[in-house]
Assembly symmetry: C2
Homo-oligomer: 345 residues x 2
């Protein structure tokens, strides 16, 4: 079954998405449905060669703007590209959605139309993050979907992160940790302490709290936090990276020797950028939905967006959602306890 690609949104709507889809078809043999303005897509496709059995177009007549509120997009734009793409999954005509459009609207639409996996209260965005070990990335979730999180939700994030690490990262027994302001048990605010207790009782390989500094050191495979903290962590990491680049560029100009050194280090700097950024993964997964949903940065280039389509196909092939459902059933006792703790949600 094909992957539905929302061709709207992002910095270069249509052009990037269509070329990326063509490359996903040609490079990996993935089947794709392009969703958007039919004629424009058809026009753009003329520039490319591809196996036409694997690529079709489904028309949509509206577009969710990047600054539009998710609620209004959901209510008022039932023919938007993201809505039509998600509907394809609901109707069993596609297995996954990939979008670089308005993230809030994509999440809201997926949650509303496809609903959560049974036993999951709140879907979460999982971001694949680099560690100092070239081949050992880790999963951070929630990277921004839920600002306020009860222990029940955080516990479910841990289950989903574990399933993601077992399938997508091919790990046998992922080390799961809670992002906290200290390693000792009892750290953090009350919801974190309660989540810690739930995780200790679970079937997960819970290794305790981890600090923001240590998480890049290849010590854990899954880092759990609420979406507010996840957003701060990701953005501070990006900001620090930009800070370092900016200072080095400035300081290099102070001497000819260091200008030369900078050129001679082109290789390592390029490798650093590749190892730090998301382009090989292509996008973040919205986990916990009945269907695979991959959210891409608005500034994604063709290579990145193509990889996001591949990422979606892999999650389908690896039966990620069955794994999540399995983790929920294995930990039902702890989930029920968390529900009592939360006043019976």
């Amino acid at each position: 079954m094909p992957i539905a690609v929302d061709t709207m949104g992002g910095d270069s709507p249509l052009l990037v998405q269509v070329e990326a889809a063509v490359r996903a078809v040609n490079d990996f043999g993935i089947e794709v449905v392009l969703v958007g303005a039919f004629e424009q897509i058809e026009e753009t496709l003329k520039l490319h060669n591809y196996d036409s059995d694997k690529l079709r177009i489904v028309n949509s007549t509206e577009t969710v703007e990047m600054n539009e509120s998710p609620a209004s997009a959901l209510r008022q734009k039932k023919h938007s590209s993201i809505r039509v793409a998600v509907d394809l999954v609901k109707d069993g005509e596609a297995e996954a959605v990939v979008s670089a459009g308005n993230t809030g609207a994509s999440m809201a639409t997926a949650k509303f139309v496809l609903k959560s996996i049974e036993g999951i209260e709140r879907p979460a965005i999982a971001s694949i993050m680099p560690s100092v070990h070239r081949n050992h990335p880790f999963v951070l979730l929630d990277a921004g979907a839920n600002t306020d999180c009860k222990p029940l939700y955080l516990f479910q994030f841990a289950l989903m992160g574990d399933a993601y690490a077992r399938t997508y990262l091919h790990l046998d027994n992922p080390r799961v940790a809670l992002l906290n302001n200290g390693e000792e048990e009892g750290k953090g605010y009350v919801e974190l302490k309660e989540t810690y207790d739930l995780l200790k009782q679970s079937k997960l390989n819970f290794v305790g709290n981890i600090e923001g500094k240590a998480m890049f050191r290849d010590k854990v495979n899954v880092v759990v936090c609420d979406g507010f903290v996840g957003n701060i962590a990701l953005k501070v990491a990006e900001g620090t990276f930009d800070f370092v680049s900016s200072i080095l560029r400035e300081e290099v100009n102070n001497s000819l020797l260091s200008k030369f050194g900078y050129l001679a280090m082109k290789g390592p700097f390029k490798a650093l950028r590749q190892r730090a950024d998301y382009s090989e993964v292509g996008g973040a997964s919205l986990l916990g939905i009945n269907g695979i949903v991959i959210i891409c940065h608005g500034n994604s280039k063709v290579h990145t967006f193509r990889n996001a389509i591949k990422h979606a196909q892999e999650c389908v092939d690896l039966e990620l959602n069955d794994k999540i459902a399995g983790e929920v059933s294995e930990n039902l006792e702890v989930i029920n306890q968390a529900k009592i703790l939360n006043g019976g949600e």
Copy 2:
């Protein structure tokens, strides 16, 4: 009046602190009281030349261990070096305390003995952070003192951060921002939205929300957050910095050319480390206490610890605490409103 220096704690207790104190006396003419084991300090001082009018010793008989709980330290060690140092401030024999000891114990002792400045509910740790502009650092607070924060506390952090930026950073009208998961008004959890409203009504130059990525870009002077988020932000920034260093070191070894480039870039890398780290500031301020309290990293070297003593003296000379008290009176109306919001604390 002198600065009280806790000679215990840190990675090299006594040696670092005593030498740093001698240098603060010799380099800046600051008066210092060294607090700790009298005979050991006396012995160590024999290695140095200094103006003995400006340096005296006060004996203490106990030491708070680095892993001791703040509550037990406070209850059971009334003759610890930190307690004796703080008592000196209380008794009007010193104006400030500098310590590289157990941070939690130092904070708890200072709060318990010296009490908060009138109108400040919760003291906060203010950290001076670098921006991309060499001469424009910014203040981030709370960097870790308070895990849970009501809008009232966050608002008071903003007042203290503003006073700190006006005095210590010599700014006329600091731009104050709230660390949040988006720039738009209405972002974040409910306490942040309420804090946003309080800040809008205040006499501060409130510029709105700032994201974790943008705060390093020399856009704002004071960044307000709760101590949990502050801890995560600082640690993630450190972790990202370490990540970058570690990857570059690894990648450089892949070719002779880049090894040479690395050597040729020694200058810029050194400048980057200097601009990124805290050693010129020497330590973080615990703001909101009746007395100046500077908290140093446990791994502080002599240069850093000396600068922390200078930092303390500057805060005294700049009458930082009068400025904080002034900001409280100027914004009493908003504070009272916040108290009603919080159920009358």
